[in-house]
Symmetry: C2
């Protein structure tokens, strides 16, 4: 009943990369006269060169996970600098910024009496239990609203268990609907007296892989321990609670350092004609620690860097500057994106776009651009149609967490929306590994990005919204 | 790309059980004259009562995993006695036997340098590293044959990593083909000097869930540590090794007690006419510790007990005795089956059959019976055809590990072969949890077992092969 990916496709991608590059070079048309012809050329070259898979495999095999603020994230930055150089980007910059660093400690949970072990992952920025753990009765809440309805003080001495009903959705919308369970649930339960919090993972898969992710606590409050349960474990706990009282022993001993550091890394294909008009594309370097940071967000790094390289290798010179930015420390509070927005507020960043929703196909375009930019979006729609991409849904896109601060400052926003149907099977779990990537879908992303970026970078119509 | 089960089906099964029982009672034909009509009646009652799901949920929710020789297995036995009584079985017996007990300790593995953590599970009966672990270079073997070809002493001071090519197969045949990697690989590597062994899990899923299972060491040899890698981790390690030397730090500290105890549990529907002719059906109580023992083998217990209950509740009186046997300690060396065979060698067990290949549909019948029993097998084929079951493939069946000793003593063997296409996604992993069970498929199993057992128990043709 559970179909796995055809992994021969992944293996083949690594073997086929060199050959495909040779083929693509000979397949390049000698002359592409119009911007539309150029866009078609980069689109086809992207599909033929198939270079993102090798980048993604190299990053995630040689570096692995890249938790924000750790030496692993620093190795990710080193890889990024090297990869940008190898791709022919110039003006490579590493721009540091301060962050708090949270690191997982020991973690375990078990049901008292039967000793049934529950698969958990502490939430980012959550607090710690004593090393020996805490044991307390569990109180069930069907969702965030049920927790909101609990009386003040009613959770004193209890572990709150917050359930919810996240659904599979192509656009990932159910993550937003249920996000409060993770982001705000622990602090709310703490305010009502809870000594610890367990949540059903924000995820759609039935494996013993809990989904971690950040939680928030009001300033000045020391957070209690909170952790996500894998779905089979959440359902076991719910069945046990339906039959009678249950106590759980929870151990979670993360450590926190308020004075850490991270950095953004960027590199450019300088514009010829209007170099001060900048298009920012990219993904984020950091990942959660329990997976290998492949779909979140090594894929975004590989896709956008491969797209820039396709344009460069095609010998095309953009009018506007194409800047690839790999953001640091997104997962723990969008520190990289916010630092980037603040540091580059005075630049003329005309368009910003992030790839941060996995490695599956782009299926729809969204944008947020000035009225004068709408003809460009129409051109992008037309050029992406051969890739199966549906035209722009609306002009109210956010563009990804790391570029939202740029959007707020007036940059135009482009979103190449990816099929998220299986994203939340893998998101923030140990299962975020290379074998989940489908080469053909990854290549389609690169083609979509190269095409859209070329059209925007070769254009002169204003895009900024303010 | 990864489809999960429709879990509403599982939930519905629990809610629907009571109603279905009521319906089934009223739907029972007042009189079924022939054995074929009786078989059709129990088949339809089994589908309508849908009782196995509730049994399986209760066992795995209230008891959980049931590692051989532990107090958890003892709780599983207590559950079995209670469940047999509730089903109306009589002559309930608990028959103890001695076993060695192996229990998992701390376990972890990481790649030196990058600190990439590898998801592992120590193999049953494997040895221990020091508490601080061992760190050693890893040597790659593509399969068991490659390890066999390694020179004596060539693995001194090394960790052997044995890869292989297990494939998805409906009949599970690839597990047999590759089984030596786990069962004999560690001892073979140890004989060539290895200090520890990692194997690619015998499994077909791409989750961070390693597949445990027993390994064997020659008598008198203290085993080295050995563990299975989840497939994504095995492939990461293989990619790293393809790029250059890799050292791994391995911690695995299982403990071993040579003087443990387990037991078989049995209960009967006594035969009326030929009570001394016994039909043994059942599954095994024990499970691996890292899952919840649902498809392996809570399902076999639930299916066979539910099948017996269907016959009893239909008011039918078998000519031969139907005996449900739940075997102890199968996973660690078929101790229960061997003890049962030895203790009951003098009984006239005419037919033996175990359900131990998951919870998915029966798709084919196999048998090993005397020539005089073949007409009965033909009747069973005909009665199972409405369930989509293909007729007997051959007369050379083994019948399941626990009943093989009875088969060797001359008992006829029946095998209701289950669709194992996804069995090795879950087998011996943390993912062996209730959510994986599909109610309709589980019910089809009960119907097939009740039908076949009724036909055999109401018959008088000799089945024994010696």
């Amino acid at each position: 009943m559970m179909k796995r990916l055809d992994l021969t496709a992944v293996s083949r991608c690594l073997l086929a990369a060199a050959l495909a590059t040779a083929l693509a070079t000979t397949a390049t048309p000698a002359f592409a006269a119009t911007r539309a012809e150029q866009a078609a050329m980069v689109r086809e070259r992207a599909l033929a060169t198939s270079s993102a898979c090798a980048l993604l495999s190299d990053l995630t095999t040689t570096v692995g996970q890249r938790l924000a603020g750790t030496e692993a994230e620093a190795r990710g930055r080193d890889w990024a600098v090297k990869a940008m150089k190898a791709a022919g980007l110039v003006n490579i910059k590493v721009e540091p910024f301060p962050i708090p660093v949270w690191q997982r400690g020991a973690e375990s949970a078990e049901i008292i009496g039967t000793g049934q072990k529950l698969a958990i992952a502490a939430l980012g920025s959550s607090g710690a239990t004593p090393a020996a753990g805490i044991t307390a009765p569990v109180v069930y809440f069907a969702d965030y609203a049920a927790l909101e309805a609990a009386a003040p003080g009613s959770l004193a001495g209890r572990i709150a268990f917050i359930d919810h009903h996240m659904m599979r959705a192509q656009d990932g919308s159910s993550y937003g609907t249920n996000g409060a369970v993770r982001r705000a649930g622990p602090a709310l339960a703490q305010a009502k007296g809870a000594v610890a919090v367990l949540i059903r993972s924000l995820g759609t898969d039935y494996h013993r892989n809990p989904h971690t992710g950040s939680t928030s606590t009001p300033a000045g409050v020391t957070p209690i321990a909170s952790a996500a349960l894998a779905l089979p474990d959440a359902e076991l706990l719910a069945r046990r609670l339906a039959a009678g009282p249950v106590s759980v022993k929870l151990v979670s001993t993360p450590v926190f350092d308020a004075n850490g550091q991270s950095a953004n890394v960027s590199g450019e294909i300088p514009g010829v004609g209007a170099p001060a008009e900048v298009i920012v594309i990219g993904g984020h370097i950091d990942s959660w620690d329990i997976g290998q940071g492949v779909i979140d967000d090594g894929a975004g790094m590989a896709i956008t860097l491969a797209a820039a390289k396709v344009i460069k290798d095609a010998g095309l010179q953009p009018r506007r500057t194409i800047r690839v930015v790999f953001f640091g420390s997104e997962e723990i509070g969008i520190y990289g994106g916010r630092a980037y927005g603040a540091a580059h507020a005075s630049e003329n960043i005309v368009l910003a776009a992030e790839s941060d929703f996995g490695a599956d196909r782009v299926y729809r375009v969204s944008s947020k651009v000035a009225e004068t930019g709408k003809p460009l979006i129409a051109e992008i729609n037309a050029a992406l149609a051969p890739l199966g991409v549906a035209p722009t849904r609306d002009n109210g896109a956010g563009g990804g967490a790391d570029v939202a601060p740029l959007g707020a400052l007036g940059s135009g926003i482009l979103e190449l929306e990816q099929d998220g149907s299986r994203y939340f099977d893998l998101h923030h779990t140990p299962d975020d590994t290379l074998d989940k990537v489908d080469r053909a879908q990854l290549d389609q992303n690169v083609a979509a990005w190269a095409t859209a970026v070329w059209l925007a970078a070769s254009d002169d119509r204003p895009l900024r919204t303010k």
